[in-house]
């Protein structure tokens, strides 16, 4: 059975040393640049933790400094954020005293008199 690959005029001898070098160097540079990004962002949290530990130590001694090493999992943060959000949505301390009465009529003007009548007519129909 003839496969698609067999139908293609593949000529492996066309791949020269230059092409291979280009591919190897290109891929290596991609890898190195992302590896450096990995290194930087692996070290950065350690740096932040060290600074935080120093700050906490100044404020509350060794006991508080140990708090800096606590890593909060993302799931915990998400749960806390959801709880805060739900709590804040439940607050009613600035609720309006008028609960049900809403002004529905429009003030009369010669410019809207026609539409005013039409609206009221529809309402009476219901």
């Amino acid at each position: 059975m003839t496969t698609v690959v067999q139908l293609l005029p593949i000529d492996l001898s066309a791949i020269g040393k230059l092409h291979l070098t280009f591919a190897v160097i290109g891929y290596s540079i991609v890898f190195v640049s992302l590896f450096l990004l990995y290194l930087v962002f692996s070290l950065l949290p350690m740096l932040f933790t060290r600074n935080l530990r120093r700050k906490f130590k100044k404020e509350g001694g060794e006991e508080k400094a140990a708090l800096a090493d606590n890593k909060v999992p993302g799931e915990v943060s998400a749960a806390i954020a959801t709880a805060i959000s739900l709590y804040l949505e439940e607050l009613h301390d600035q609720e309006s005293a008028i609960l049900t009465i809403k002004k529905v009529g429009k003030s009369y003007s010669p410019w809207n008199s026609k539409i005013y009548n039409v609206i009221n007519f529809n309402r009476f129909q219901r």
Binding site: D11, H19, F22, Y27, I29, L37
Partner: protein, 379 residues
């Protein structure tokens, strides 16, 4: 009577060729897939409709300025944004404003999977050379393996503008077909036990880390591969607009208005650029075959590298090798494929958050690869 004859001669009926009908059929299939199965509808609808526009037959070079390749036509002006590489960076701006890099920051070793998956780009480059394509053409074809439409368009606009249509159509078609292409490779290269590996939940990422990321990543990648600056510069700018929290309006514009406008114009013009007279060639078929190969190699590269990494990781830090497949950028489609495959192996194992890390790393990796190719090959 002469007027009627001339009218008929100028109509689509008199100028249609089998090629036109074939391309119209392709356009209709794109639109059908997008509407019926919701395969990448935001891209496939404009591209599919663009194919219909580009392949409605007409007499070229009559002074009417209709065709996308005719100087002075409306479509030609819009196509300038593609040819000059203007649209891809604008799309990257929007992508940056939409992307959350925290899965990657919380587990930086997963960045390496995004790097590993770029192997498809360079192996496909060699494949294209063996099929007789020139060096710049091969690089443009290879970048399809990055599974990133804007990057592929950007690089081919610089290195092989005559192939943009085929390359873009191949890249977007295979991105839409990711749920068909990737799973068999993922299952072939992993055992059921490996697919069941549960990964540690990612840690919380501070606002400072998220704000620093675009700045540090830009400087780092930009200094190594300056050719990637138009893409990565805009990607990280968009991300800084989002993460800084002080430019909400700009971030909203970038991720909604700008990206929507550019996607419509880009999609339509790319579709219209596939005029049967210029698109239906032997080269286009080769590009489609190479594109599929590139996607498969990139997927395999990511999965295999995850397996290699597991040799060096402690049992509690093991990686589920399925997430390696998400290294082929295509945000967030490949991460979704990983999530679905993970759930098939274990209905309680949600991998999407972990898969997003190599996924966004893949975007950076493919843009760096494009930058390197551009700096090495552009004369």
């Amino acid at each position: 009577m002469e007027g009627i004859v001339r009218f008929f001669e100028n109509s689509g009926f008199a100028n249609a060729t089998p090629g036109h009908f074939l391309m119209i059929l392709v356009g209709l299939i794109f639109i059908f897939l997008a509407i019926r199965y919701e395969y990448k509808p935001l891209l496939l609808v404009p591209i599919g409709f663009g194919i219909l526009i580009g392949n409605t037959p007409f007499v070229e070079h009559t002074g009417l300025h209709l065709g996308i390749y005719e100087d002075g036509s409306v479509m030609n002006y819009l196509y300038m944004g593609v040819l000059k590489g203007i649209f891809p960076p604008l799309i990257f701006l929007g992508i940056g404003a939409m992307t959350d890099f925290s899965p990657l920051i919380s587990n930086p070793k997963l960045i390496l999977l995004g790097a590993a998956a770029q192997i498809g780009i360079f192996l496909t480059y060699l494949g294209a050379i063996s099929l007789g394509f020139t060096n710049p053409e091969s690089a443009s074809i290879g970048i399809i393996g990055g599974a990133d439409g804007p990057t592929a368009i950007f690089l081919s606009s610089k290195l092989a503008p005559h192939l943009i249509g085929s390359i873009a159509i191949a890249a977007y078609s295979y991105m839409a077909l990711l749920p068909v292409i990737q799973p068999p490779i993922m299952r072939l290269l992993t055992t059921k036990q490996e697919r069941r590996i549960k990964m540690k939940p990612p840690r919380s990422v501070s606002k400072l880390e998220k704000t620093l990321f675009p700045v540090v990543a830009l400087l780092l990648t930009g200094f190594i591969a300056p050719g990637s600056l138009p893409l990565l510069g805009m990607l990280f700018l968009g991300n800084l607009l989002k993460e800084s929290m002080v430019t909400k309006r700009l971030a909203d514009t970038a991720k909604n208005t700008i990206i929507d406008i550019v996607t419509i114009i880009l999609g339509v013009t790319i579709g219209a650029s596939t005029q049967a007279t210029t698109f239906l060639t032997r080269e286009s078929i080769f590009i489609f075959v190479l594109g599929a190969t590139a996607f498969m190699i990139s997927t395999a590269g990511g999965v295999l590298f995850a397996k290699i990494m597991n040799f060096f990781l402690s049992p509690e830090n093991k990686i589920n090798p399925l997430i390696g497949a998400a290294g082929v950028s295509a945000v967030p489609d490949s991460a979704l494929v990983v999530q679905i495959e993970g759930l098939k192996a274990d209905p309680d194992n949600h991998l999407i958050m972990h898969a997003m890390a190599p996924n966004v790393a893949g975007v950076i990796g493919s843009a760096v690869a494009a930058g390197i190719m551009m700096s090495l090959l552009l004369k």
